[in-house]
Symmetry: C2
Subunit: 258 residues, 2 copies
């Protein structure tokens, strides 16, 4: 069970959202002292998401966490969507600045590992997608640092963008599958092994699902599944993919240098 769906929204004027992201807002001259700040709201929301999933971040629950009525959150944040954007940028602020002396390969490796770690600290980052207005200072800096890693190695601008996108995309997908699996175990209360134990007899009763119809899928799926359960392994797919991607970029760089 368990499909996972992503909701969209999207609205009009970006001004307010951008101001919030960049922390520029004239402090109010009149009126009662605010009980909170936008940062408080963002922090509370992140705490909820960290402890559970992004679904735990509802206006009502964030407000409760802060001891405030739901509607008063709208003083600090235009709506839930913008709150998610703020959470993303805030989390990106945790990424370290890569050492500028590293080779492009080591730099991309460091970046990939930092992001891998970030996703494991904040799995909800994989449950949201950034949008145009999510371009806050930390997301900007993240992109800048990624590009710095591949600057001057012979790629043109569009290739640089594609190359860093390739690496960060890899981290996203591998982290996602590793964390989705972990979350599934948590929410279903069944380990993969237990689940298969339960599912196997059902599948066995279905002729069309017989292993001989899917010989490779059965063999490889089992091998991969066992390796995956080795618990030191979720990172295997990540490291494998990273090695391939870096090798692939290296091929291009070598070509360019000739």
């Amino acid at each position: 069970m368990s499909g996972v769906s992503t909701e969209d929204n999207g609205d009009g004027d970006p001004r307010r959202a951008i101001e919030l992201l960049w922390g520029v807002s004239a402090p109010p001259r009149r009126g009662p002292k605010p009980k909170l700040t936008t940062a408080d709201v963002v922090r509370a929301a992140i705490a909820l998401a960290d402890a559970d999933t992004i679904d735990a971040v509802t206006i009502r629950r964030v407000a409760e966490q802060l001891g405030v009525s739901p509607m008063s959150l709208y003083t600090y944040v235009p709506g839930r969507a913008e709150l998610l954007d703020l959470m993303i940028d805030h989390a990106h602020g945790e990424l370290p600045v890569p050492d500028p002396r590293l080779s492009w390969r080591d730099a991309l490796t460091a970046i990939a590992e930092d992001q891998w770690a970030l996703f494991h600290r904040h799995p909800w980052l994989l449950q949201v997608t950034t949008s145009r207005s999510a371009l806050g200072p930390h997301s900007f800096a993240k992109y800048e640092h990624e590009l710095r890693a591949v600057e001057g190695i012979g790629l043109d601008d569009v290739e640089m963008d594609a190359a860093v996108g390739l690496v960060t995309g890899l981290v996203r997908t591998t982290a996602r599958s590793s964390l989705d699996a972990a979350r599934l175990v948590r929410t279903s209360g069944l380990t993969d092994a237990q689940w298969w134990e339960r599912a196997a007899p059902v599948l066995a009763g279905i002729p069309a699902a017989a292993a001989e119809h899917y010989p490779l899928a059965s063999r490889v799926g089992q091998a991969a599944g066992e390796a995956h359960n080795a618990a030191e392994d979720p990172a295997y797919t990540f490291r494998f993919g990273l090695a391939r991607v870096l090798d692939g970029i290296e091929v291009l760089v070598s070509e360019r240098q000739r």
Copy 2:
């Protein structure tokens, strides 16, 4: 604006879901003739998702589309989550079987392009993640065919799994970013250019956002943005990434062959 979130669920007994996926169900012996079939429901749901987003797939709207009361859908489908699983497997059924005579490189390329096309036909596939019980016949076949492409080229089972995961993950991320951008244009009613026109003055008023603080991000971001708007281009990142990934796999294959 516009964060996008993914919801989770997850429940207990997989039996019913698996039976639905594999289409094994004793037809009812008593009772009134069903007005619909599970396949009808799945098709209607896919039509709604195709025309809009996955959010359009609500029990109430699917029922309305079918001229039936919301609750009667639960006769055909255990719940919304399982409906999403069924939609995924159904869509995977549209993937062609790759020509077995192709080289591993051509086969992976064909597979990647087929999936790229599938995601563009059914963008909602990128808004849902599969779960354990989503292992229906077509998803199984998809995995089988992917593995067939890299069989016998010198990789072990775990590497085969990682390699095809790498390619399919690449397609997902690149298709996602291309389609997210397109959807954003549709729902916000603003093209990227229009949005930047509106956002630029706001950013200009923020000293911290000045281009000199993010020299690479500004330059490369603009170049990539312009190239991206060339409209023949959304596929560029995809083809770039695919070439790198295939080159990277090739490096490994060559090593193994020695």
